[in-house]
């Protein structure tokens, strides 16, 4: 399970809230969910689901070896 969170878009430093699946900067509201043993930021619950159904099987092992 996850939850919606809000992040403030300030102007003193670059905004760095990034979706773990797609790589997009997520403006303002983001979805926080534990995946692969760690809390991770996503654009929305659909991207969290695709992280587990697509990204981990496709790239998870390569990433772990890095």
């Amino acid at each position: 399970m996850g939850e919606w969170r809000e992040s403030e878009i300030g102007y003193l430093e670059p905004y760095r809230v990034v979706c773990e699946l797609c790589g997009q900067l997520v403006p303002g509201r983001y979805w926080l969910q534990t995946a692969a043993g760690a809390p991770r930021v996503f654009c929305n619950p659909d991207h969290a689901a695709k992280y587990e159904s697509y990204w981990l099987p496709r790239h998870g092992q390569e990433e772990a070896l890095r």
Binding site: P14, G23, L25, P27, R29, Y54, R58
Partner: protein, 583 residues
């Protein structure tokens, strides 16, 4: 004011009403564009039409667009989403206009400025109308922006986060002053911004008229229904593509700074009605300005599928929902701040779109096209007019050959697939920018890749400088790598860029003449009276085996001068009637 209406409420909309609504919104977008075209100051608006006009609902969902610039239309979805997230819906008031061009906040690249106006009905926020347009001068390190050798975004012009250019119907003078003080041609910027604002005012009036006639419930529920229809239809189209994982790889040949190319890898998964476009494994972001930000990469994918699918699907938010774009941070397809990004939107974007066609060539051969010339051919220049010292600056772009397709040759010299813009007529160009005279402008024989259906032709233009001095820059690609063919078709010809000092002697590259790092990506080169520049625009790739080309088409090409007899013999095995009878 936050919208309180239940926009999903069923109000019993019939297909006729929905069609009327969709066409009304689309034609409103078109009329917004006409307003900009006819009232702006710069030829990039009046002639080139480098702008787009779009309508959104209060949640930032795109309701309608028209036949504008595909890269802008896909990107503005992110720009508007960011604007609403950063400002909050509560910040919008009747008569506001927000301006925004920051690529690290969802814009495409620095020259593209978005103006957004909230539309209220009886005190309730019911829509946003927006346009995005390429300003010809943005205060970059070189006139005309698009600095071919920029190494950070701060060299690409003034960054404007979402701020109000107009508040409750009154200009915010501080913002106007700040922006115009940073542009080399403030008078032109002023006129173009006014044209964009007029376009938004027209759209607001049109929406008010629509709501007055049909009611706000029809408008809001109809918008939701049109989005749902578009999503269903797009998903149905995707389901017709065979499920599978498809690959394609291409590269940006240089970044204007160093040696070496930048590979882009696409793994395209089609699974039922879903598409995942995964760029994992693509090159790290470049030092120079060929990086695409996420919104540009996503927009290029949308553009490809809008070309591949039924053109009658309502063009709105629903079209984009089936797509997931995976673009790792720090790569050439999703760079990190403060990497420069100007060419990501002009050069990298069309290559990404073409990569989708390349990946799906075997799966849906009747729908894809071979590679287009793949460069916007940006040639930038600026200076001061001799009479009166009025500053000028311009982003000049060119057409390219488009790829051959299953039933016809590629288009000749059409602006690359991300642009859908027009070229600037020679007469207008010379009138508005007397720094140059156009010596010649023509199609280039044999530049279209051979094929059953050959690639479209590229072209050549020669400029002569007619003033004491003018500063020029460039940001062209496909100067070394040929546009690829598909399904047995051959590659189109690559482009080129040369200079001839004083109009005499040999054509030389800018590397040879001025020591630039790249032959086609540089800025701040000073040319003088009599100097000449030659731009060669790439052709498109061919489709299918050239030996299967219809003899009548070969002879038409020979008659028109599109293909030389030597190329016809070499690529098509052509023999004239006499050769045939002698042989």
């Amino acid at each position: 004011m936050t919208p309180s209406r239940d926009t999903t409420a069923a109000v019993g909309l019939d297909p006729v009403t929905l069609t009327v609504l969709d066409n009304y919104l689309t034609s409103t977008c078109r009329d917004m564009g006409v307003t900009m075209m006819t009232t702006a100051y710069s030829p990039i608006f009046n002639e080139s039409l480098d702008f787009s006009c779009v309508i959104f609902d209060p949640r930032g969902q795109m309701l309608a667009q028209a036949e504008f610039c595909p890269s802008q239309i896909g990107t503005i979805k992110f720009t508007v989403e960011w604007t609403i997230a950063e400002l909050g819906l509560e910040a919008f008031e009747q008569g506001d206009v927000v301006i925004h061009n920051d690529p690290y906040r969802g814009s495409g690249h620095v020259p593209e400025h978005m103006l957004l106006r909230p539309v209220f009905w009886e005190g309730e926020l019911v829509a946003f109308v927006a346009n995005v347009a390429h300003m010809s001068e943005v205060g970059a390190k070189t006139p005309g922006g698009l600095s071919g050798d920029a190494t950070e975004i701060f060299q690409e012009g003034l960054l404007i986060p979402p701020v109000k250019l107009r508040r409750r119907g009154e200009d915010v003078q501080d913002i106007w002053k700040m922006v115009l003080a940073n542009h080399r041609t403030p008078r032109v910027t002023y006129g173009d911004f006014r044209a964009m604002m007029a376009s938004l005012e027209l759209a607001e009036r049109r929406l008010h008229s629509l709501i007055a006639d049909h009611g706000v419930d029809t408008f809001t529920a109809g918008g939701d229904e049109l989005i749902a229809i578009a999503e269903r239809r797009m998903r149905a189209e995707i389901e017709e593509i065979p499920d599978g994982v498809y690959f394609f790889e291409d590269a940006i040949e240089d970044d204007g700074i160093g040696e070496g190319s930048f590979p882009m890898k696409l793994e395209l998964t089609i699974a039922g009605s879903e598409v995942i476009a995964d760029f994992t494994g693509s090159a790290r972001q470049a030092v120079g300005p060929v990086n695409a930000i996420y919104a540009v990469t996503a927009s290029a994918i949308y553009n490809a599928f809008l070309h591949l699918t039924d053109s009658t699907i309502p063009r709105n938010e629903g079209c984009y929902r089936p797509f997931t774009i995976v673009a790792p941070r720090g790569t050439i397809v999703n760079c990190e701040f403060p990497a420069p990004v100007a060419g990501g939107n002009t050069e990298t974007s069309p290559r990404i779109t073409d990569m989708v066609f390349g990946a799906l060539a075997d799966a849906i051969p009747e729908r894809v096209v071979a590679s287009c010339g793949g460069t916007s051919s940006p040639f930038l220049f600026g200076g001061r007019n001799a009479s009166g010292g009025e500053p000028y600056a311009h982003f000049h772009f060119e057409g390219v050959g488009w790829g051959g397709r299953h039933d016809s040759d590629g288009n000749d010299m059409i602006v690359t697939i991300n642009g859908n813009c027009r070229n600037t007529p020679v007469e207008v160009f010379e009138t508005r920018y007397p720094a140059f005279r156009i010596e010649s402008y023509r199609l280039t024989a044999d530049s279209g890749g051979p094929g059953t259906f050959r690639g479209g032709l590229g072209g050549e233009r020669i400029f002569t400088v007619t003033v004491d001095e003018v500063t020029v820059g460039a940001l062209l690609n496909r100067m070394r790598a040929d546009p690829w063919g598909i399904l047995g078709g051959g590659a189109g010809a690559h482009g080129g860029l040369w200079v001839r000092r004083g109009g005499n002697g040999e054509w030389r590259t800018f590397v040879e003449e001025f020591g630039t790092a790249s032959p086609s990506k540089f800025s701040g080169v000073m040319l003088h009276d009599g100097d000449q520049v030659k731009i060669l625009m790439p052709g498109g790739g061919g489709y299918g085996d050239p030996l299967e080309r219809d003899r009548a088409l070969i002879e038409r090409d020979l008659h028109e001068g599109f293909v030389t007899i030597e190329a016809a013999r070499e690529h098509y095995g052509y023999e004239s009637e006499k050769e045939h009878s002698d042989g």
